[in-house]
């Protein structure tokens, strides 16, 4: 049988969830579906149904109430899947950092594969992010998030558990780590 993997990147269906953003990024996602930017040329369909989606577009810094729904949607999506954090407040909390009802960035809750900067992220940047996400989607394994796999991955060297305690990259360009 021929390799089905390469078709993943030709048909990314997106699911959009607003976890407490200011609407700016959401309307830019709508604008990137509009004729000028037309995400559908990459095969993107805005399904709105987690069970049939490949790419999870999240906007917003994750408010206290929306976090449950966020994780629920994430778990409802079948593998392989890619999570994109759209906009500054989704990546790191942005201007809402340290407010009392906000978690700083969605990677507190779910693993994020692509971070799109910008306040608000323009359609151009969203397209950049989706193109990047397609590469990652192709590499991802179908079996990735089975629990034992997840555990093995996380505890392995360079896995998410170890990486959390090691040194950092952003802002420290000339650091050896």
């Amino acid at each position: 049988m021929f390799d089905l993997k390469k078709y993943r990147k030709k048909s990314p269906w997106i699911l959009h969830y607003n976890a407490g953003s200011c609407n700016g990024c959401d309307i830019e996602i709508l604008a990137s579906l509009s004729p000028k930017y037309d995400l559908e040329r990459f095969g993107v369909i805005n399904t709105g149904n987690p069970k049939q989606s490949d790419i999870f577009l999240v906007t917003g810094p994750v408010t206290y109430r929306s976090r449950e729904r966020l994780v629920e949607l994430y778990t409802q999506m079948p593998e392989p899947k890619v999570v994109i954090a759209v906009g500054s407040c989704t990546c790191t909390g942005g201007v809402f950092r340290d407010m009392y009802n906000v978690e700083d960035g969605i990677d507190r809750y779910i693993p994020v594969d692509v971070y799109i900067a910008g306040c608000a992220a323009s359609p151009e940047l969203i397209i950049d992010g989706i193109v990047k996400a397609l590469e990652i989607l192709e590499q991802k394994s179908k079996e990735m998030e089975k629990p034992h796999k997840l555990f093995r991955e996380a505890t392995s060297e360079g896995g998410i558990v170890n990486r959390r305690h090691s040194a950092l990259k952003v802002g420290e360009i000339d650091e050896e780590n």
């Binding site: 089905l4 993943r8 048909s11 037309d38 559908e40 040329r41 399904t47 069970k51 079948p78 179908k142």
Partner: protein
Amino acid sequence: MIESIFIIIAPIIGGLLYGFERVVRARMQNRQGPPLLQPFYDMFKLIDKQAFIVNPYHTILGVMHFITLWIVVAFIIMGQNLLYVIFLHLLSSIFLILAGFSVKSVYSHIGSNRELLAALAYEPILIMMAVGFFMVNGSFDIAVIREHGASIVSLFLLFLAYLMVIPIKLKKSPFDATEAHQEIVGGVEIEFSGIFFEFLYMAKWLEYIFVYLLLMLFAGDNILLGIGLFIGVFLLVNLVDNATARIKMKHLITIVLGLGLTLGICNLIGLAYV
């Protein structure tokens, strides 16, 4: 031999048609649109994806919907009895409706309800169409109808009624309340995922083949007229899709049953007495 090849590649033709339609629709909306082979990319991706099974009946009924539809298309290509075709098609719809009712999701239930109401609206027209073909050609057999001359003139009112059925079956505005993405997120398809959604997705392609093959029956043995009808109706359906909003189930039933049934009955009475 040629027939069996046609039967096997029917979903592929349907997929191509669907892909072409997506391009046309995008162009009508002044944008570039997906590549022509997009439905097949989607198909391969869906095969590759992890699937969640809500309950076994749900998935089996979904698969049965696809298989029955394929049999329907096969029957048409083989030239079987038109009444068999129509009732078998109804059966395939029933499978889908039952699948919708077999899960807990409210959206799925509403979708099934609407699907059932839509079947109620278009099924009489299909049956009257069969009766009309019988009155013109003297047989329910599709093979006979195909060899007979074009019946579009004598069945013109039924043809108009059938034009109303096409958007319902293809989930096009203004009659796409059964799918209604913005209201019920796809209705019955909501709980399908992975390869099982793939069957539903391919059933949609077969629906295209079914609808347009029935349409071509109006042309009889005149192949050129058949192709002309297909292109004309294809364009018309897409243009109407791009010029109307989705109307509600209530209006759908009043319009399709009221107008379509009247047109059909007039046509049959005309055939019987003129």
